[in-house]
Symmetry: C2
Subunit: 270 residues, 2 copies
């Protein structure tokens, strides 16, 4: 048996998420098929975590166990030769036989791209917000997210979780041209957590919600659950990228930069 | 009658080019339908020039004549409200009644994006070249294009042209991350001219063709036409953007920058 650590990027638009399913096209399903065509028998394949339908990844990490060893560089080239154009393996390296992409991950970071203008090119990779946004308000509200909180209100099906308490290591907001970027990093995330948080930040940035309401929601109090809430404010999948998955010994996160940037020529005309 | 000058960007992937056709979805066809839904009766609609199937535009210009006047800002918002997500009107301004997008244009510029790496996000907006490219060779060859030449070998159906002589005002090459950008500006272009030129530049950059062959082809000599030639080297539509159309009084072209930039996180990982 030979174990590999794969790092891959994908455009999630056409996929029913990462996780393999019987009757739906998924990223892991495509990866398994490509590995079987080029590397031989697949004994085990697992990602660092699931991504939902339509969510992208800049650097998803997976473990792959094959029945026999293959030269990693040749394997990488062959995989990319047969994978669909919207899935690209960035790196394939031999890994210890016990390497497990999900269990061994120390932290994940997600990047969310909000666009302040409509663009013909960006629809797949942004959430376009037509209303004016106060980025200062968004940044101030995002700062509330750092640290240990009960994210029960920001979790789909919280009853299925052993705990809804998460320690957020980084919550950062930056502007880049027409884009507003949000990065969240934590040891793990709850289902839909990033999209509900970004949706809430956008409500605050649009002046439709007070940051104090977010602070109360972060206490997880059931009283806050009534009526309009984070579930209704969920940001669409298109703007969300799994940015990095970090393991022991990995370098820290770099500067916050766009995943896909659209440079309009509108500034140059009249 | 009221005349407007529209500036629009579009992702050409899903369209059979700009020009209206009976039984095919085209950008101008979508624009006409949107204008009729929001601005009233369309008397005339014409672009600065055609773009082929799959070719994009950062700032196509069109004239639109409506049977009655409408507030331009309101019209702009309404148009974008009904247009498909991959077509976006950047500007709508009242224009003199004689304004004609094609006849009045002084020059056009095209941007071509070559990618030196496979990426899950860029397939629609680049031509991915797997072979190593010598960008210095490409830039040196591109410099040969400036000035007056006979581009008969770089034109589809040259017999339909009154002349295949074109004065190229600018031929520039730049690198931006994994992208190699090529800009060509001229008063007008022949059918497929940019794609055949870029295909030839890539052959030269890959070391498969001498720049001297390009120099001979630019003389338009029929002797050069035999066998393998620019028609076979045509670059795909995906990497091509109509960048700017300039009219009397318009500012000069700005710096050469990507249209759609993909920022991989591959630099940050092992």
């Amino acid at each position: 048996m030979a174990t590999y650590r794969l790092t891959l990027e994908y455009d999630g638009t056409r996929y029913h998420g990462w996780q393999e399913q019987q009757n739906a096209r998924t990223v892991a399903g495509e990866l398994r098929r490509a590995a079987e065509r080029t590397g031989g028998r697949v004994l085990d394949l697992g990602g660092s975590g699931r991504t939902d339908t339509g969510v992208h990844a800049l650097a998803q990490v997976a473990h792959l166990r094959l029945s026999r060893a293959i030269d990693p560089d040749r394997f990488l080239a062959r995989l990319n030769g047969v994978l669909p154009g919207d899935i690209h393996v960035l790196d394939a390296s031999p890994a210890p036989r016990t390497f497990h992409a999900r269990h061994d991950a120390r932290s994940r970071s997600y990047l969310y791209q909000i666009s302040r203008r409509r663009t013909a090119f960006g629809k797949r990779y942004v959430w376009w917000i037509k209303r004016p946004l106060d980025v200062g308000r968004i940044a101030a509200a995002a700062a509330l997210l750092a640290g240990r909180h009960d994210f029960a209100h920001f979790c789909e099906r919280p009853q299925e979780q052993s705990s809804t308490v998460v320690v957020v290591e980084e919550a950062r907001v930056a502007e880049s041209g027409d884009l507003v970027l949000v990065r969240l990093a934590a040891s793990h995330f709850l289902w839909r957590m990033v999209r509900r948080l970004v949706g809430t930040l956008v409500k605050i940035g649009a002046g439709e919600l007070e940051a104090a309401r977010l602070a109360r929601l972060l206490e997880g109090s059931p009283r806050e659950a009534a009526g309009d809430g984070p579930a209704q404010w969920t940001a669409p999948a298109s703007g969300l990228f799994l940015e990095r998955v970090r393991y022991a010994g990995d370098p820290p996160l770099g500067a916050l930069a766009p995943a896909v940037a659209i440079h309009s020529r509108s500034g140059g005309i009249r």
